[in-house]
């Protein structure tokens, strides 16, 4: 049976950050929950607090007040190293600028999270190759990131995000550095992953990107302004992620 537990639960969550001279209220009493298996977009203009929220959801930052339960665990009191472990096991990051490590084959790139999870080398290699094949880059496993296009690099990043089978995929403007063709392919890949059971949260400021998701949260001035279901998510093709595309 599919899990209907909350993967993300924020209770009266407040984030105040200190810019030295003044204190800024980044997020103001956020209450929200996201269940396993949802496909959510977080929208808002710059200054809306969506980046701050992303950092907290990603356990890169801690709430000032209130609670953040990630897959049932209260992460507010965790130490730096414990948070690292949580990120490693529970969250798969996809960044706007890919953040792949150059001078390393894409296979090795995908292995990185598994290395920190102390998974044995042969298991790592196998899984990395599997994941790259799944995103359509099986022919290129020994290439380095700079030999690939933007769309291909983002696909590597997605494969990497899936390495430790995390319950949550967190994508920060994943199509921000891609052309429209590649953007479509990446969003279709996310949609496919969601269909297969992953929880995907995408931060974006573009409506047509959010249109792929099933639920859209909008933020303004540090407050959750709206939370609506997307009745008609953009449909995606069945042959997503197979073969080498132009992107």
């Amino acid at each position: 049976m599919a899990e209907t537990k909350d993967i993300i639960k924020l209770e009266d969550m407040v984030k105040i950050y200190d810019t030295g001279a003044i204190k800024v209220l980044g997020l103001n009493r956020i209450n929200l929950s996201i269940k396993h298996g949802e496909f959510v977009a977080i929208m808002g203009h710059s200054g809306s607090g969506k980046s701050t929220l992303l950092n907290i959801l990603g356990c890169l930052d801690r709430p000032t007040l209130g609670h953040y339960y990630l897959d049932g665990i209260d992460v507010a009191q965790m130490s730096g190293d414990e948070l690292s472990r949580v990120r490693n096991q529970k969250i798969g990051f996809v960044f706007q600028s890919f953040n792949l490590i150059s001078r390393m084959s894409i296979q090795k790139n995908v292995e990185v999270p598994m290395t920190y999870a102390k998974i044995k080398p042969d298991k790592r290699r196998k899984r990395a190759i599997e994941l790259l094949e799944m995103v359509g880059l099986g022919e290129r496993i020994n290439h380095e990131p700079n030999e690939l296009s933007g769309g291909q690099r983002q696909r590597v990043a997605i494969a990497r995000a899936l390495a430790n089978k995390p319950p949550l995929i967190l994508a920060d403007e994943p199509t921000g550095n891609l052309d429209s063709q590649a953007s479509i392919e990446i969003m279709e890949l996310f949609a496919k992953l969601h269909k297969e059971g992953s929880t995907v949260v995408v931060v974006t400021h573009e409506d047509n990107i959010a249109a792929y998701t099933h639920r859209i949260l909008t933020f303004k001035d540090g407050v959750l302004q709206s939370d609506r279901i997307n009745e008609k998510p953009t449909p995606f093709g069945e042959n997503v992620g197979l073969g080498d595309r132009k992107s």
């Binding site: 890169l60 690292s84 990120r87 953040n99 999270p113 920190y116 080398p121 430790n164």
Partner: protein
């Protein structure tokens, strides 16, 4: 995890060969110098030790050193009878005695004039000269000594100079000996098995070296000699040698009614120990100075690692986001700098060792490169890398991932 980091560190080095090489240069030079100096020191000490072995490690010269203001008495000198007595008293402990007599003067042959040194020795002298090898003819026998024959054993280079060839057994030359011109017959030619470098060390004079019976020198003066050359039993060394030498001098002094301070014993073994100690101290001092360049090399590594850390800020942020702990990042960068300097150490060692081996081959001198020195040197350079890499690695590890991820 360690092996992973090792592989990553190596690929990082290879990716930027020029930069890596320039960074390592300080370590390469530092380690190279230390190894070079240590090996040269060890080789020289080995050479010195071998030379002393060749000369006879148990050799000593005993001579008069009379402090008495009343003056020297006849009984202070050594006579042949006394020498025989010493031989009897000390038996096999006193393996060899002669009067340490020699004479140098000009010899004229068809090829020209040469200065020839005649050194008086006993028939068993050859036993104490490991590098002397009879090439033609023979060495002196006890008959030669007893009969006081005017026979001579010459070095092969001397034979060439005097007669133009090496096999000169049977040939004769005249040399002024005890006021009169004597004819010496060559009964043997020997070869000195020493590397050219060793010969330089032994002080190569232009005089031609030959050996004659020690008994020839008796006719001189009043049959009295101011010094002795002795060889202790070959098995003596260190403490046992020292004790024998002391006993000998004490006995000599006692039988002459003198104090042991009135005779001086100059021992090859002592000298060698002194020279060895001296060389050792110099090597250590110079090695220490060379080690300073290692510090400079370490600073170079620290600089480059700081640059590297800054360049890879994004990477560090990403790794942390993917689950790297502070310790993971710290380890990664420490291993990188350790590998950088360890490889520098290996290169420096190889270059220094190679240079020394080549030099040794050219000079026909066997060289000493102690494995322990190599291990210490490479190990130390890895430590230098770790020490100077700590600050940059800490900087990397402490980077806030959010800030790091935003870094351009």
């Amino acid at each position: 995890m360690f092996v992973e980091n090792l592989k990553m560190a190596l690929s990082a080095l290879v990716a930027n060969k020029m930069r890596s090489f320039l960074t390592m240069l300080g370590i390469i030079i530092g380690i190279g110098s230390v190894i070079g100096i240590a090996s040269i020191g060890d080789t020289v000490r080995q050479m010195v030790s071998t030379i002393y072995q060749n000369v006879g490690a148990t050799q000593s010269i005993v001579y008069l050193n009379i402090q008495d203001e009343a003056g020297i008495r006849d009984t202070d000198f050594f006579t042949n009878e006394e020498i025989e007595k010493y031989k009897k008293i000390f038996g096999t402990d006193l393996a060899y005695v002669d009067t340490n007599s020699s004479l140098t003067s000009e010899v004229k042959t068809k090829l020209g004039i040469n200065k020839v040194t005649l050194t008086g020795v006993d028939s068993n002298f050859l036993n104490f000269q490991p590098t002397m090898e009879i090439k033609y003819g023979r060495f002196l026998t006890s008959k030669d000594i007893e009969s006081r024959r005017y026979v001579v054993v010459v070095e092969d280079t001397a034979a060439l100079k005097l007669f133009g060839k090496e096999d000169v057994v049977g040939k004769t030359f005249r040399e002024k000996f005890n006021g009169a011109l004597q004819e010496f017959t060559v009964i043997g030619v020997y070869h000195e098995n020493m590397s050219p470098l060793q010969k330089v060390f032994m002080g190569n004079s232009q005089d031609l070296k030959t050996y004659v019976p020690t008994s020839l020198f008796i006719e001189s003066e009043y049959n009295m000699f101011s010094g002795l050359r002795i060889f202790a039993n070959k098995n003596f060394s260190g403490e046992t040698l020292k004790r024998f030498n002391e006993n000998f001098v004490e006995y000599v002094a006692r039988t002459k009614g003198r104090n042991k301070e009135d005779f001086y014993l100059y021992s090859a073994g002592n000298e060698m120990a002194q020279v060895d100690g001296f060389l050792s101290a110099i090597s250590i001092a110079m090695g220490g100075i060379a080690a300073i360049s290692l510090i400079v090399g370490g600073i170079g590594i620290m600089n480059i690692m700081l640059v590297s850390v800054t360049e890879r800020t994004r990477e560090i942020g990403t790794r942390k986001a993917l689950g790297a702990t502070t310790r993971d990042i710290l380890t990664q960068f420490l291993i990188e700098s350790a590998v950088l300097s360890a490889i520098g150490g290996i290169i420096g060692t190889s270059i220094a060792s190679g240079a020394i081996l080549i030099a040794g081959a050219i000079m026909q001198q066997s060289v000493v490169i102690r494995p322990i020195i190599v291990i210490l040197a490479v190990g130390f350079s890895a430590l230098v890398g770790i020490f100077f890499g700590i600050y940059p690695a800490l900087k990397a590890a402490k980077r806030d991932p959010i800030i790091a991820l935003r870094y351009e």
